[in-house]
Amino acid sequence: MSPRPGFVLEVDRSTPPTLFWHGEGFRLEKLPTGSRVLYAPEPLDPLEDPVGSIRRALLQPMGDAEPLPELLRPGMKLTIAFDDVSLPLPPMRSPDARQLVIEQVLDLAAEAGVDDVVLICALALHRRLTEAEMRHCVGDRIYDAFAPQGLLQQHDAEDADNLIHLGLTDHGEDVEINKRAATSDLLVYVNINLVAMDGGHKSVATGLASYRSLRHHHNARTMQQSRSFMDQHRSELHTSNWRMGRLIAESGVKVFQIETTLNTDTFPPQMRFLERREWEWSGRDRAGFLATSTALKRTPDRLARQILHSVRSPYRMTSVQAGEVEAVHAQTTENVYRQQLVAVEGQTDILTLGLPYICPYNVNSIMNPILVACLGLGYFFNMYKGRPLVREGGVVIMSHPTPWAFHPGHHPSYIDFFEQVLSETTDPAEVGKYEEAYATDPWYVHLYRTGNAYHGVHPFYMWYWCAHALEHLGAVIIVGGDRAAVRRLGFTPASTMADALEMATDVVGRDPSLTHLHSPPLIMADVS
């Protein structure tokens, strides 16, 4: 039986309560009659033979790329770059898709007699991975073969000696990327395309870039003009990355792009109720929900966080494309849309979101208030094609505990940003005046380079990620959040969904339309 497509449910009196993520817990909310609930397509059937599919993709590349074996020769300099742990979410069960792909590439390189191989985790300004995280990405065999010799590296956007400025785009954008990658005879980039934003020229132009380069598209203006950044052709973020990517290619950097897509089989069987439509919950699903939610409620926050972050997703690979960047990415994006896109007619006055415990920037960490804002307004709000799911001047209601808590090792500059920048202004354009001081702060630079800290400028990027939503919306309400933290974000706290809906009517009027984006799994609305 083929997987069912996405579905828009209209809530009636017989509709059971809707499940909302609420950080490390859940809420069941009875939505008003007439509300719409968007359910994602069911997980697509996975590739029966992912290793064979990878091998075929490498041998039969897309676009004008030559098969990978023909690009490999003894004495050449080969660099394999790969995405960091910001995806997939939650981390997938071993073997990770990156491991499967990189093993194939290394096998071909070995067959061709390539000796000079370096692996680089393309983390841009994200935090460095721990050894355990790196082992999870590439597998023990690769880790043990490369890491001891220093051949398994993490991109360092502050290592001036290992960056190279390739020039300016015709829009005056600096293109500065990892020198080893840029000066290799071949750069193979291994992607996991969890959402439509990932991949394409963004892989190299962002993942291997420096702050000097990133600042041209990671800013409030660009994000306000990306409508949305999940829709490449209407995304200024992508337009800028494409300019940079083409300049990288013109500079002589030969990129062989490998992109993989995953299905949305996100949680293990005991948490499968999360992905099911509530009226279809079996007795086992109900028992799983009760057991999980009760246990999480009674568990201290820190332990609950540890438990949830230890969850490994049973994601399976649905496609793999390799070859020339743009040809590969066009196919990949279609495959992502096939898994995630749901057609929706018309916008809504109120959009409700249940936010989980994890986002791309708090893997094995704390979801601090800035990340809550970014996940809701940066990611979920932008999960649309065509028009935003919520109308201009509408309201987003998010459910999350939003604790005033930060991981001091992972997010040191976030603490200062929250305390000292957001206390002054929440306007994405205004906060930009502090950006350079944070970006060049020697302590943040030190922690980024030597510890496991996000770069000093990263909280600004998170806030810029919200810029389109903040410009578009009439109000943002967080249900069940730490009231002081929610207010610091510039949002309105509400104790219950009923209170939030009442507050929202002050902005959008009486009898508003309401749409709930039911996630997990990942879902994207194609709004007509």
Binding site: E419, P442, W443
Partner: protein
């Protein structure tokens, strides 16, 4: 006449210490050494002395420390019991012992002649001149009465200040106090009583701000947002030219006031080190900033605040202790290793201003006027409600207040914010 009196009573001090440690500062008035009683007007000790009728008298952190039984034993020999507290006083001259001219002593030793009815603020330190010690000690000879070396000697009882001396009385009494002419400063008409009662604490702040030795462009951090912290912030902004003035204050209204008084940034105390680090673009090692503030002014005086000050001052920087510390346990390794100067700043006297010396109180009056520091007076209480007043002062920050004062003869519409 009613007055508040502190008597030497070990059980009462012990009870106060116990109660305040459980229920908070200022809550032990019922069991502690302070009681409302009939007090006699103190006798005028000699030529040059005046009787002053208080109008307003502030409740200071050092008063609270005494009433809470938390004062250092260091003060035992420089306090005489029983005493009427109150050393932040604006009052009216009622009577002179004798006209200064009738004395054989040089006029300069007596200060200006003051007519009855003159509104004055009291400079409470009982230095050599007030004590009739001639020649005065080296500090007093230089006008630096805060450093007087004879505060336990002379013809009046020991007591570092009016308000801690058995012979002089203090501000918390309708019977008034006695002060030497050199301790009295006429208050300009332009200053209200609220402004005037802030002159003494501001003089402490002025002395601290000048003792800090701020160079133009320095990064200065002030730790504390109570009366001392806020007046110090105002003094630093008025009298020095710091490049950046950062304040760590616990409560929102304190941070707001700090901003109004000249702080470039006011944050919560636990955020101050981070703010200093960012401004100084320092790294962090062993819990200390690699660079840090050029000067940290500690207006709290606790072990925690001193430790934090040492952690955020730069090597060879200076920590100025303005808040009154007690017996404290500290790790001073960083002070030694980083060659940090830890200096105290107590009271006032004369300050070097250009080529000349000026009385600290004269400078303080200008700062009070310019910064409108009378606004820091949050509530006035009659003596009869002393328990409420002291409790309010002990919880001033938490209750949105700054300075709590006693009003001897209520006549203003400004009432206690209870």
């Amino acid at each position: 006449m009613k007055g508040l009196l502190v008597e030497r009573s070990v059980p009462r001090f012990a009870a106060a210490r116990l109660v305040s440690s459980i229920t908070g500062s200022g809550t032990s008035a019922g069991v502690g050494p302070l009681r409302l009683t009939d007090v006699e007007a103190p006798a005028l000790p000699g030529p040059g002395w005046y009787r002053v009728r208080p109008l307003l008298a502030g409740i200071c952190g050092s008063d609270l420390a005494t009433l809470d039984g938390r004062s250092s034993r260091y003060f035992e020999d420089i306090v005489s019991f029983p005493f009427v507290p109150g050393h932040e006083v604006v009052g009216v001259v009622e009577e002179a012992y004798a006209a200064p001219d009738s004395s054989d002593a040089p006029r300069a030793l007596h200060g200006p002649a003051l007519a009855p009815g003159t509104r004055v603020v009291v400079e409470p330190v009982l230095g050599c001149i007030a004590r009739g010690i001639d020649p005065p000690c080296a500090s007093c000879a230089e006008g630096r009465v805060g450093g007087c070396q004879r505060i336990a000697f002379g013809h009046i009882a020991p007591g570092l200040q009016i308000g801690f001396c058995a012979d002089t009385g203090g501000g918390w009494s309708q019977a008034g106090l006695v002060a030497h002419g050199v301790q009295l400063h006429p208050v300009p008409e332009a200053l209200s009583d609220d402004d005037a009662v802030m002159i003494e604490p501001t003089a402490c702040a002025v002395h601290a701000a000048l003792a800090a030795g701020v160079e133009p462009g320095d990064t200065v951090a002030v730790l504390g947002g109570g009366t001392v912290g806020l007046t110090t912030t105002a003094a630093l902004r008025q009298l020095a030219t710091p490049g950046t003035l950062l304040v760590g204050a616990k409560y929102g209204h304190q941070r707001e006031l700090a901003g109004e008084l000249g702080a470039d940034l006011a944050v919560s105390p636990e955020q101050l080190t981070r703010a200093v680090r960012r401004r100084s673009r320092s790294l962090t090692s062993s819990g200390h900033l690699s660079g840090g503030a050029d000067i940290v002014v500690d207006c709290v005086g606790s072990a925690e605040s001193i430790s934090q000050s040492l952690a955020m001052v730069r090597p060879r920087g200076r920590v100025v202790l303005v808040g009154m510390p007690g017996k404290t346990s500290l790790d001073l390794a960083s002070l030694w290793h980083r060659e940090v100067s830890l200096v105290g700043a107590y009271a006032y006297g004369c300050e070097r201003s250009g080529a000349a010396d000026r009385r600290t109180f004269d400078i303080a009056m200008e700062v009070v006027a310019a910064a409108q520091l009378g606004r820091l007076v949050s509530a006035r209480y009659p003596l009869e409600r002393f328990e409420e007043a002291v409790s309010h002062a002990g919880a001033a920050g938490r209750r949105g207040a700054t300075k709590i004062v006693f009003e001897m003869h209520p006549r203003s519409p400004k009432g206690p914010a209870s």
